[in-house]
Structure formats: structure tokens, C-alpha cells
Symmetry: C2
Subunit: 235 residues, 2 copies
DNA sequence: GGCTGATATATTGTATACAATATCCTGAAA
DNA sequence: TTTCAGGATATTGTATACAATATATCAGCC
């Protein structure tokens, strides 16, 4: 058996894609900005050819929009887009949690355990920069969620979740802002872990869904509070 | 508001992709066969450049696998792959049916009605070639299912379903083989329609899930009966 | 001044050339 | 006969050139 992934992963040109993806998610190319191929090419130190492929891939993933003969644009998200995505995330991750309950291995459980613990301890950490903190949180949170998807044992489900979760970090960072919300989030993690340990798929799914809907509501609230819908520019 | 789709649809090079996709789904390039760029290029009457992009896109969609420096291969499906896909289809289409129940328009309902009726009437039709019949059935069936996805009103859900349903026709054609199975399938269509008309989301979802699982079981049975797992070549 | 059309510029889309890599084939040695 | 090395061939990966298209600029006209 060879590589699991369908994409040309770990190849050289694949790195262009990975970097572009990162730049988009981290908000270096903010939503709505034009992605001129030549510019990206010089930014990334390659020719337009691999850039083009990366853009096509990113478009398939929904990170950019390509308009024929008019170029690519970093995708911007409306409130409705976010709602759609959270709806699907709840569905897919809930299902993943359900499946994982009957298949998860001890190694995977302890990996999740560790991630959850790190997230809890980090409430007392102090970070140099706010950005470092967000990175830390996003990273460990990703481990938690990805391990569940992995434990579900459905490769396509993983692919789909990766697509959905590929939302610019700008949006997700709100989530981690307040202490109270982080504590609730940690509580959800513990509940999910418990359900998985007990092999209770229904409860794992229910908790996961609540966890995600909670995140959605926090995000929506912060969006409303923030600079109003201006940040989410509709075309 | 501009185009709904993220891809560079309806553009010129996009057609290369559409044609490649069709060739793959219709089994012209059978699962497991190598997709040499030059060959595709001459087959499609273009240079390697647009072919390459089409391949990248098809890989993102899961129709082909790209191995770094070793080219693309028409994806082959194992039994487990099919099970994974049907599992996700049940989840996503079930959800779509649930959402559609509260949003579907009369126009959409009558479109589905029409498709269902055509499928029923076709039991008495006689077709020139078996292939024509399969095409007819697949086409009307697609209308039925796509309308539900559309009525669900979640663009991402549509995209995901398109990805999942992009299975080589070779597999799907089994489904339509026997009269009894088609009748049961038609019955499911009517049940789903009823539930949608009544706005009963739970029932619509349940029926849709059964419908899809039934299709899965028919497929699996035919696979087992057919040339054994040889047709589903593992690498 | 504002509109219209023509030209210039910027950018995308495609083809081709060449480099990098993998695969195949041949022949010699064990 | 099998195995391995080395070169020949096939194919992918990238850069670049040019064509096609869209956008911007500006002169002329009302």
C-alpha cells in the first residue's frame, strides 16, 4: 500500500500549494484580495506554472475563487457562508465522533488527552505575543479534532473535514479570545473524551455537535460586535 | 451576485476538465489505467498545460490519484472505498433531505415529481442499447437527487455531494439492472417526495438514508456476484 | 464636463522547450 | 539463469514565450 492521500503530497510543487494555503489561511492574502499569478510566483520564488496549479487546487478546496480570464481572488466569506460551514462541520464531525467511539485506539485517546491537557494548562501560560498564543491554541485544537477524524477511519471524511476547516484564521481567532469561552470549550473536550473512552457514540456525537455550535455562536457574536458586517465583504 | 461556483466554470479550459471528468466517470479511462499527459492532450486536442490543470482538479476531487514524478492514474475503488462513500452519502444526502423539507419550492417539487415519473414510466420503455437506458436512468435520477441538494440551500453541501457522487458509472450501472430493484427505488422516491411535500424533515431524512443504503447493498451484492473482487483492483 | 471609441497596458491562458526524474532495456559478471 | 550496472527512453515538472482577453488611459466629440 502506498500513500494514503490522493494529492501529490510531499512533492516539490506541492509545497507551493501548502505555502499558498498557509498564506491564505493565516490571512497574509486577506479575503477579497486579488491573487495575481506573477506576484505570487515572485513571492514564492517559482514560475507561474506551479502557482497556477496551486490556485486550481485551492479553488477546488474553496479557498480562492477563479474567474475566467480575470484571475483568482482570495475567497471572502459572508455570514451565511460561515453558517453553512458550521452546519456541515457539526454534521461531519459529529458523525466522525460517533464512528470514532467504536474504533478509537488507546494511543489516539492519549494523544487527544494530551492535547486537551495542554489547552487547559495554557490558560495559565503567558505568551510573548498574542499571535503565538493563537497559534498554540489552534495547533493543539487541531490535534484534538484531527485525531477524532482519523479514528473514524474514513479517509474521505478526513478529506472533507480538511476542506471545511480551511477557514481563514482571522475568523477562528475570535473564538479563543475570552477566558470563559475557553473554559467551556475545554469542558466540551473532556466530555467528548469521556464518551469516546466509554464507547458511547451517541453521546460523543451530541457533545461534538454542541461543541461546534457553541463555537459558531461565539464567532457570530464576535462578528456582530466587531466592525459589523463590514469585515465580511460581500462582492 | 456572480457565479455560484468557485471553479472557473464555463471557461474554455474548464471544458477540458469537464470532458476528462466525463471520460473517467463513463469508464473510458478505466480505474487503474495510467493517464499519460501527452496522450490525454492529443485525445482532447490541446497541449499538456490545460490537461495538467484538469488532472490536478480531478485529483482534488478524488477521481484520479497523482503520484509525484510518476504521473496520474484513474482512481480505482476498493470495496471499503465504496462503503466509505455510501456512508458519507447517506449522511450528507440525508441531511440535505432534512433541510430541503422546510425550504423546497413548488417548482422544485414538481421537477422532482417529473423525474420520478419518468423513472417509473421507463420501466415500460424499450431502448435501442442498454447504454442508452443506463444514461436515461442516471440522468433522471441525478435530477431527483440534485434538486434536493439544491433545495437544501447549502452551496458547500452541493459541492461535497458532487464530489462523492463522482463515482465511475461502471459501479452505478449495476444498480439499475433488475426490475425489482428499480421498483423499490421508485417507491423510495415517492416516499421522499411525500415527506418533502408534508415538510416532514425527519421522515425525509430517514427515507433518503434507507434509499441510499439500499443502493449500497444492491451494489455490494452485484460486486460479490460479479467477477469477484477482481474488478476492484487494489494497488 | 461627460461620454465614446481607440490604443496601451496588464494579466490570464496555452503551447512549447528544456530539465529532472523514473522506467525500461541491454549486457556483463556471478 | 539471476542480478546488477549503466545507458537509452519515456514521462513528469518547471520555465518561458507568445496569444487571447480584460482593464485602464486618453483623445476626440457631443
Amino acid at each position: 500500500m502506498e500513500h494514503l492521500y490522493t494529492k501529490d503530497e510531499s512533492s516539490s510543487a506541492d509545497q507551493v500549494y501548502q505555502r499558498l494555503r498557509r498564506l491564505l489561511i493565516e490571512g497574509f492574502y486577506p479575503p477579497g484580495s486579488r491573487l495575481v499569478e506573477e506576484r505570487l510566483a515572485s513571492d514564492l520564488g517559482v514560475s507561474r506554472t506551479p502557482v497556477r496549479q496551486a490556485l486550481v487546487r485551492a479553488a477546488a478546496e474553496g479557498l480562492v475563487q477563479i474567474f475566467p480570464n480575470r484571475g483568482a481572488v482570495a475567497r471572502s466569506f459572508t455570514i451565511d457562508d460561515l453558517l453553512e460551514m458550521y452546519d456541515l462541520r457539526a454534521l461531519l464531525e459529529g458523525h466522525a465522533a460517533y464512528l470514532a467511539a467504536s474504533r478509537i485506539t488507546p494511543a489516539q485517546l492519549s494523544r487527544m488527552e494530551e492535547a486537551a491537557t495542554e489547552l487547559e494548562k495554557s490558560l495559565t501560560y503567558t505568551f510573548e505575543r498574542r499571535q503565538d498564543e493563537v497559534h498554540f491554541l489552534v495547533e493543539h485544537n487541531a490535534v484534538f479534532h484531527q485525531t477524532i477524524a482519523e479514528a473514524a477511519g474514513n479517509q474521505r471524511l478526513i478529506t472533507m473535514l480538511n476542506q471545511i476547516v480551511a477557514v481563514p484564521l482571522q475568523f477562528r481567532s475570535f473564538y479563543w479570545y475570552r477566558r470563559e469561552e475557553r473554559q467551556i470549550s475545554n469542558f466540551f473536550h473532556r466530555s467528548i473524551l469521556n464518551a469516546l473512552r466509554l464507547g458511547d457514540g451517541d453521546r460523543a456525537r451530541a457533545m461534538m455537535r454542541e461543541h461546534i455550535f457553541y463555537g459558531r455562536d461565539v464567532l457570530l457574536q464576535s462578528q456582530r460586535a466587531e466592525s459589523a458586517p463590514a469585515a465580511l465583504d460581500e462582492e
